[in-house]
Amino acid sequence: MSTIDVRGLGHTFGDLRVLKDVSLQAPGGTFASIVGPSACGKSTLLRVLAGLLVPDEGTAEVGGVSTVSRPGLVSYMPQKDLLLPWRRVLGNATLGAEVGGIKRAEAKRQAGALMERFGLAGFERAWPSQLSGGMRQRLALLRTFLAPAKTMLLDEPFGALDAITRREMHGWLQSVLGAEQRTVLFITHDVEEALLLSDRVYVMSPRPGRIIADVPVTFPKPRPSGAVLAPEFIRLKAELLGALGG
């Protein structure tokens, strides 16, 4: 399990300073969330960790290896599901694995075994355009999950879903991840979602983004959706909202 280690990261697009001195350390096996206002540079940070963007300053490492210009060290799920319309459900699920060098037959076998758990059983031969929003998101997650890189970066995976589907996905994601320890960096602007899923929540400031709070969440997992009503949960939520509002 790989530690995510970001130090002094800064980046500017033209005149626009999006990241300023961002540092965070998430030990292996941690589910860490970043919450922050829109356009605070969260996605830019993920793109650096995914090896797609060379930052102006600072370092980003996963498992002790720099991710700068080194895609493939982490499994990245962008904000949009980006399912390929020309591949069936099974083909989309195995994309990351295939590109990552796993043999097609083996990738298909692994995907087939997880279809049930990802709520996609029976849809192996369907096209992405035939899936509901929740199923598309689960398929994108399955693709991320099956890639050879075990560290996952999830950029607002449930952002486009309705509240009820979203709640279902929270329970489901915990059960899926509960089986195996993975390092996850999860981006959201929903404080409750972050608290429900994470071991640790980072708060980012408005642009230029920096980490302004680092809150450990120690409730036992898995957390039912009712956990949001516990006094301690509400206290943490108030603390995070305070940091965001400040």
Partner: protein
């Protein structure tokens, strides 16, 4: 069986209005010629065209075979060359800037002017006809395929890159499949012009083919036979178009999902 029945019914409903209009036009044409007693070398009646078709049934297949082989061979060359140049244009911005305008200008050269020249260059055999078809088909195939390759979703190629895939993986998983529907749009346009292109090529000089069939009919004032050739060209062109459509359906099945299966 039920599905097949339903799709046949749907096809009937879809093409029935066009079929009825065509039948009405032919009936009107027949009536016009009979009422005004128009001379057959000015405008033959459809019934006379039909008789002419029955007369020429023996020789027509040979002419059709010649023209169709020229059309198919030309189309294949157009597709191969069009896709090859599209790939070069899409992958190298410099070549694109240099070649694209020249390519567009080249399309303004009238084929009628070029066809006799091609005969001088390539002789009276099959070659100049195939070249005309290829020149007709090359442009739409090349332009649509290049557009398809260039407009592939940047975020999707980024995703493949984030998985550790290089240029080849991005081409294989994203750009080529994304460009396939555009390629088929170009191929459809090329297919509609292919038979016409072969006929124009034959016009200038040939020993067999629908073009020479028309030239002979014209010099003999057999306008009815000219119309037979026109009808045959239409039928063969539609058949070619339909074949490309079927190929597109088989190669890019995802493009036809929503129209059928969405509940």
């Amino acid at each position: 069986m039920r599905r097949l029945g339903a799709s046949t019914r749907r096809a009937t409903i879809e093409y029935l209005p066009a079929g009825l209009l065509l039948a009405a036009l032919i009936a009107g044409w027949e009536a016009w010629v009979r009422i005004f007693d128009t001379r057959p070398y000015i405008m033959p009646a459809p019934s006379r065209v039909w008789t002419a078709f029955l007369e020429t049934r023996g020789t027509l297949p040979e002419h059709i075979t010649t023209t169709l082989s020229e059309a198919l061979l030309g189309l294949a060359i157009a597709a191969a060359a069009g896709v090859a140049l599209a790939a070069i244009l899409a992958l190298t911005p410099l070549v694109r800037r240099v070649l694209y305008p020249i390519l567009v200008v080249s399309q303004t050269i009238p084929m009628i002017v070029l066809a006799p020249l091609l005969v001088i260059w390539f002789g009276f055999g099959m070659t100049p006809k195939v070249v005309v078809v290829a020149l007709f088909g090359f442009f739409p195939i090349c332009v649509s395929t290049a557009e398809g390759l260039l407009t592939a979703d940047r975020e999707m190629t980024g995703l493949v890159r984030s998985m550790g895939g290089g240029r080849l993986a991005s081409l294989r998983y994203v750009e080529i499949p994304a460009a396939l529907p555009s390629f088929f749009s170009g191929l459809k346009i090329a297919a509609t012009y292919a038979v016409l292109g072969a006929v124009i090529g034959e016009w200038v000089g040939a020993s067999s083919g629908l073009g020479i069939f028309i030239t002979r009919a014209q010099t003999a004032f057999r306008v009815d036979r000219v119309f037979v050739a026109v009808a045959v060209i239409a039928v063969v062109s539609v058949a070619l178009f339909a074949a490309v459509h079927v190929a597109a359906r088989l190669t890019t099945p995802w493009m036809y999902v929503n129209k059928e299966n969405k509940s």
